[in-house]
C-alpha cells in the first residue's frame, strides 16, 4: 500500500538559518503520527512546507501520492488542516465561517458538520470575535474535520481546550485513523502524543532525530522519580544502578531522572534504605531528547 506521506531530504533555510534539515520520513496510511518537538524545533516549518505555504529549499514531499507543491490545490481536496497559530475572521459567526469554507471546498456534508458541532458543544451563532480562544479552537477543529479528510495535519490542536474536549479530539483522531485516514499530529506535549499516536517522530533544531513506535518510546520509560527515605542515604546506594541519568540528594529526599525499568532501581534502594514515599512524573521533553542524543552519540 502506498504510504500516506513521504518526505525526501526536506529542508528549509532562511538565509543562513536552517529551520528544517534533510527530513526524510514515511508515514503509512491509517495511523496517527505524532510529530514531537519543543517550541522552535521546526515542526511548524515542516508543516507549512507540506501545506505549500512556504517552499522547500531542498528535497520534496508527497501526500497520498500527490506532490505537495505541484499538486497542492488537488491535494487540499483530501486534506484537513489546523494551523498552530490561526485567526478566524472575527466578524463572522461560526456558522458563517464553516459555510464560507464549505463553499470554497465543496462536497461538505452538512449533517456531519452538525454532528461535529454537537460533539464539541460550540456556539455557532455568536460572532467569532466574541468567542473565547477555546471556542475559536473548536471551530478551527470542526473546519479541519468537516470534509472527512483522508489526511489530517493538526499543529498543536489541543491549545485552549479543556481536558474533556481534548479527549473528544483524541477520539475523533482515532476514529479517523481507524477508518483508514491518516493524522499528522504536531505537539510539544509528550503525554498527548503518547496517549494518541501510533508512531512518533522527534524533531529538534530542525533535525528529525528519532522515529519510534509508541511502544518503544514507552519502553524507554523515561521519567522523573522523587523518593522520600527515612534518613539521608549515602550516594553509593545509587552507584551502579542502570538507567540513572541524573541524581540529586537533598537530605532524605532523592530526585532521579531515570530511563528503563524501575524494578532494579527500587530493589537497590529498598535493600539499603527505608522507603517512606515515592512519586513519579512524566519526563520533560528535554530529558527525552537528551536520551536520544545520548543514543546518537553513543
Amino acid at each position: 500500500m502506498e504510504p500516506a506521506l513521504i518526505t525526501r531530504g526536506l529542508g528549509k533555510n532562511y538565509g543562513h538559518l536552517a529551520a528544517l534539515v534533510d527530513m526524510t520520513l514515511t508515514v503509512e496510511k491509517g495511523v496517527i503520527f505524532g510529530f514531537l518537538g519543543p517550541n522552535g524545533a521546526g515542526k511548524t516549518t515542516a508543516i507549512r512546507v507540506l501545506m505549500d505555504e512556504i517552499r522547500a529549499s531542498s528535497g520534496g514531499a508527497s501526500i497520498l501520492g500527490l506532490d505537495t507543491h505541484k499538486d497542492s490545490v488537488a491535494l487540499r481536496h483530501k486534506i484537513g488542516y489546523l494551523p498552530s497559530e490561526f485567526t478566524l475572521y472575527p466578524n463572522m459567526t461560526g456558522a458563517d465561517l464553516i459555510h464560507f469554507f464549505a463553499n470554497l471546498r465543496g462536497g461538505v456534508d452538512t449533517d456531519y458538520v452538525k454532528v461535529l458541532v454537537e460533539r464539541f458543544d460550540v456556539q455557532m451563532t455568536k460572532k467569532i470575535g466574541d468567542l473565547s480562544s477555546g471556542n475559536q479552537q473548536k471551530i478551527g477543529i470542526i473546519q479541519a474535520f468537516m470534509n472527512k479528510p483522508e489526511f489530517l495535519i493538526l499543529d498543536e490542536p489541543s491549545g485552549g481546550l479543556d481536558p474533556l474536549m481534548q479527549r473528544e479530539l483524541q477520539g475523533l483522531m482515532r476514529e479517523t485513523a481507524d477508518s483508514g485516514g491518516t493524522v499528522f499530529l504536531s505537539s510539544h506535549t509528550l503525554s498527548e502524543v503518547q496517549r494518541v499516536s501510533d508512531r512518533v517522530g522527534i524533531i529538534r533544531q530542525g533535525k528529525l532525530i528519532a522515529l519510534e513506535s509508541i511502544g518503544s518510546l514507552r519502553a524507554k520509560g523515561i521519567r522523573k522519580i522523587e523518593i522520600e527515605l527515612a534518613r539521608e542515604p549515602d550516594v553509593s546506594v545509587f552507584s551502579g544502578v542502570p538507567g540513572i541519568r541524573s541524581l540529586l540528594i537533598e537530605r532524605n529526599r532523592v530526585f532521579i531522572s531515570h530511563e528503563g525499568k524501575m524494578q532494579t532501581l527500587l530493589a537497590a534502594v529498598m535493600s539499603k534504605c527505608e522507603l517512606r514515599d515515592i512519586s513519579t512524573n512524566e519526563a520533560d521533553l528535554e530529558e527525552v531528547f537528551l536520551t536520544y542524543y545520548h543514543e546518537e552519540s553513543a
Binding site: 517552499r55 490545490v73 490561526f86 478566524l88 466578524n91 456558522a95 463553499n103 471546498r105 479541519a144
Partner: protein
C-alpha cells in the same frame, strides 16, 4: 515617559521618516523647477486669488515652493500620517489584541493615552525639525532668496496644525476602539476642513465661517511672511489638548476590545431582531458564498463612506457653491495667465468645468478613489497574512492566484462604485444648479478617474502580493501617487518633456471634462494597470507566505 512612549515613537518613526523624505524630495524638485519659471506672471494676479490658491500676495519662487509643496501636499500628507498613527495608538492595539497584555502591567489607561499623545507629538516635532532643515538648506543650494520669509514660524504652524488631526484620530480611536472609524472620521474632517478653508472665504457672507475649519489656522496670519501667529497656535494647541483630554475620558469609560474586527453595517442590522430574518439571508449565506463577496462586505464601511462623501459633499454641495461664486469667479478668471491655469490641473475657475477640475478632480477625487483601491489592493493578500487568516483560507483547495483574483474583483467593484458616486454627485449638481457641463465629458472624466484608481490600486496589489506587508504596500503606492502627481503638476507649468510619462497626465492632462474621452489615455492607463496586476501573480506564487 516609559516603554509605551518609546515603543510608540520607534514603531511609527519609519512612516514619519518616509513621509518627510517624500516631502523633502518634492520640495527640492519643486523649488528647482519654480526657479526656472518666469514668476512675473504671478504679479498679474489679484491678491485675493493668490491667497485663495494658497500662494499669497507678492509671490516669488520661494513662497510658491513653500506654499504649494509644504502647505498643500505636505499638510495633507503629514495630517494623513498623523491620523493613521493616532488611530493605531489605542484602537490598533485593541485590533491586534496587544492592549490586554500591555495593561496587565501597572499602567493606567489614562497613561497609555497620554504617552501615546506625547509620542505622536515627539514624532512630528522631529518631522518639523527635519522639514525646517530642508526648508532652510534647499534655497542655499539652489541660490534662491528667502529674505523676509519666516521658515521657522511657517513650519511650526504647519506641524502644530496638522498634528491636531492625529490627536483627533486618537480621541475617536479611544472612544470607539475602532481604528477604521477613527481614520474615516478624522480624514473626513481633514478633507472637509481643507476645502472649507479654501472655499468659504470666497463666498460672500460666509467668509468668517472659515475660522471654524482647523485647516484655516495652518496658514492663518500668513506665517511665511509674518512669522508664527500666536492666535492660531493658541487655537490649534487648545483644540489638540481638548482632543487628548477627550481621548483620556473616552478610554476610561468603556470596555476594551480584544482582537476586534471591522464594523459591518449590514452585520449590525443583523443583530436587530426585526431585521434578523431578512438580513440573515443577505449577509449570512450571501456574504460567505464567495471570497470576492466577503471582501466586498469587508470594505463596505470605508468604500461607502468615501462614496457618500464624493456624492454628497463633493457633488451636491459644490454645485451651489460654484453657482454662488459664479460672478466673482468669472471676473478673476479674466486675469489668469495660461501657466497658472496649467498649474492647477488645466482648470479654469471661470467655467464650471474648470472649477470642478480644480476642486474635485484635481486632488480630492484621486485621493478618494485611491483610498479605496489602495486599501483593498494592499490588503488583498498581505492583509490575510497580517491577520493570520491566510493559512486556513489556503487549506481549502484553492490556489493563491484564485484568492488574488477574487480580491481584485472586489477592488474593481468598489472602485467603480466610488467613481460612479462621483459621477452621480457632480451630474446632479450640474442638473440642479444648471451649470451646463456636458454629461458625456463628465462620464469620460470619471472613467479616467476610475482607471487612475485601478492603476495605483494595482501597484498596491503588486507590492502586497510580492512582499506581503500591508504597511509598505500602502505607503509606497500612496507615496508614489503623491510624488508622481506633484511631478506632473510641475511638468505642466514647465512644459516638461516627462509629463507624458506620468499617469496623472493621462488622467487629467487631456482635460476630459472639456474634451471627453482620450483613447490613448484610457489605453495607456489600462495597459499599465494590466501589466502591474498581471506581474503580481508570478511573484505571489513564487514566494513564501508569511505565517
Amino acid at each position: 515617559m516609559t516603554a509605551i512612549y518609546v515603543r510608540s515613537v520607534t514603531s511609527h518613526l519609519r512612516a514619519v521618516a518616509l513621509g518627510v523624505l517624500a516631502l523633502s524630495i518634492l520640495f527640492i524638485f519643486g523649488m528647482a523647477i519654480y526657479r526656472s519659471i518666469d514668476m512675473s506672471i504671478l504679479d498679474q494676479l489679484p491678491d485675493n486669488l493668490l491667497s485663495m490658491i494658497g500662494i499669497g500676495p507678492k509671490a516669488d519662487v520661494a513662497s510658491l515652493a513653500y506654499n504649494a509643496i509644504f502647505s498643500t501636499y505636505g499638510a495633507l500628507l503629514i495630517g494623513g500620517i498623523a491620523i493613521v498613527i493616532g488611530a493605531s495608538e489605542v484602537a490598533g492595539r485593541e485590533r491586534d489584541g496587544t492592549i490586554g497584555l500591555l495593561l496587565a502591567n501597572p499602567i493606567s489607561r489614562g497613561r497609555l493615552v497620554i504617552e501615546s499623545a506625547m509620542a505622536l507629538f515627539t514624532l512630528f516635532i522631529v518631522a518639523g525639525i527635519a522639514l525646517l532643515g530642508v526648508g532652510l538648506l534647499t534655497p542655499q543650494f539652489l541660490d534662491v532668496s528667502i529674505t523676509g520669509l519666516s521658515i521657522g514660524g511657517f513650519v511650526t504652524q504647519l506641524i502644530i496644525g496638522t498634528v491636531f488631526y492625529g490627536f483627533l484620530a486618537l480621541a475617536v480611536s479611544a472612544w470607539t476602539g475602532k481604528s477604521q472609524i477613527a481614520i474615516g472620521i478624522s480624514s473626513s474632517v481633514l478633507l472637509i476642513s481643507f476645502l472649507a478653508a479654501g472655499l468659504l472665504p470666497l463666498i460672500s457672507g460666509l467668509e468668517e465661517y472659515a475660522r471654524l475649519s482647523p485647516w484655516y489656522y495652518i496658514n492663518a496670519g500668513d506665517p511665511l511672511r509674518n512669522g508664527l501667529d500666536l492666535g492660531a497656535i493658541v487655537v490649534l494647541g487648545s483644540a489638540s489638548v481638548f482632543c487628548v483630554l477627550l481621548a483620556w475620558v473616552g478610554i476610561n469609560r468603556r470596555d476594551l476590545r480584544s482582537r476586534s474586527g471591522n464594523i459591518q453595517i449590514l452585520g449590525r442590522l443583523r443583530w436587530n431582531p426585526f431585521a434578523t430574518q431578512l438580513m440573515g439571508r443577505i449577509t449570512g449565506r450571501t456574504m460567505v458564498s464567495r471570497i470576492w463577496i466577503k471582501t466586498i462586505y469587508q470594505f463596505q464601511v470605508l468604500s461607502l463612506l468615501v462614496s457618500i462623501f464624493m456624492f454628497g459633499l463633493m457633488g451636491l454641495v459644490m454645485g451651489p457653491i460654484y453657482a454662488d461664486m459664479g460672478t466673482t469667479m468669472a471676473q478673476l478668471a479674466d486675469s489668469y495667465p495660461p501657466e497658472i491655469i496649467a498649474f492647477f490641473g488645466g482648470g479654469d475657475f471661470g467655467t464650471a468645468e474648470g472649477f470642478f477640475q480644480i476642486e474635485i478632480f484635481g486632488l480630492v477625487a484621486p485621493i478618494a478613489i485611491m483610498i479605496v483601491t489602495i486599501a483593498i489592493g494592499a490588503k488583498a493578500i498581505a492583509g490575510e497574512e497580517k491577520d493570520k487568516t491566510l493559512a486556513l483560507l489556503l487549506a481549502n483547495p484553492i490556489s493563491r492566484s484564485y484568492v488574488l483574483t477574487q480580491k481584485l474583483i472586489a477592488m474593481l467593484i468598489w472602485g467603480l462604485v466610488v467613481a460612479f458616486a462621483t459621477f452621480a454627485g457632480v451630474a446632479l449638481a450640474n442638473l440642479i444648479s444648471d451649470l451646463g457641463m456636458n454629461y458625456f465629458n463628465l462620464l469620460a472624466t470619471c472613467v479616467h478617474l476610475l482607471l487612475l484608481g485601478y492603476l495605483f490600486g494595482g501597484v498596491a496589489v503588486f507590492l502586497g502580493a510580492a512582499i506581503g506587508r500591508v504597511g509598505l504596500a500602502i505607503g509606497v503606492s500612496a507615496g508614489a501617487a503623491l510624488v508622481i502627481n506633484v511631478v506632473n503638476g510641475i511638468a505642466e507649468i514647465n512644459n516638461g518633456w516627462w509629463e507624458k510619462f506620468t499617469p496623472f497626465y493621462w488622467y487629467s492632462g487631456t482635460d476630459p471634462l472639456i474634451n471627453g474621452f482620450n483613447v490613448t489615455g484610457i489605453f495607456i492607463l489600462s495597459v499599465a494597470t494590466a501589466i502591474t496586476i498581471g506581474s503580481s501573480y508570478p511573484l505571489l506564487n513564487r514566494r513564501d507566505l508569511r505565517g
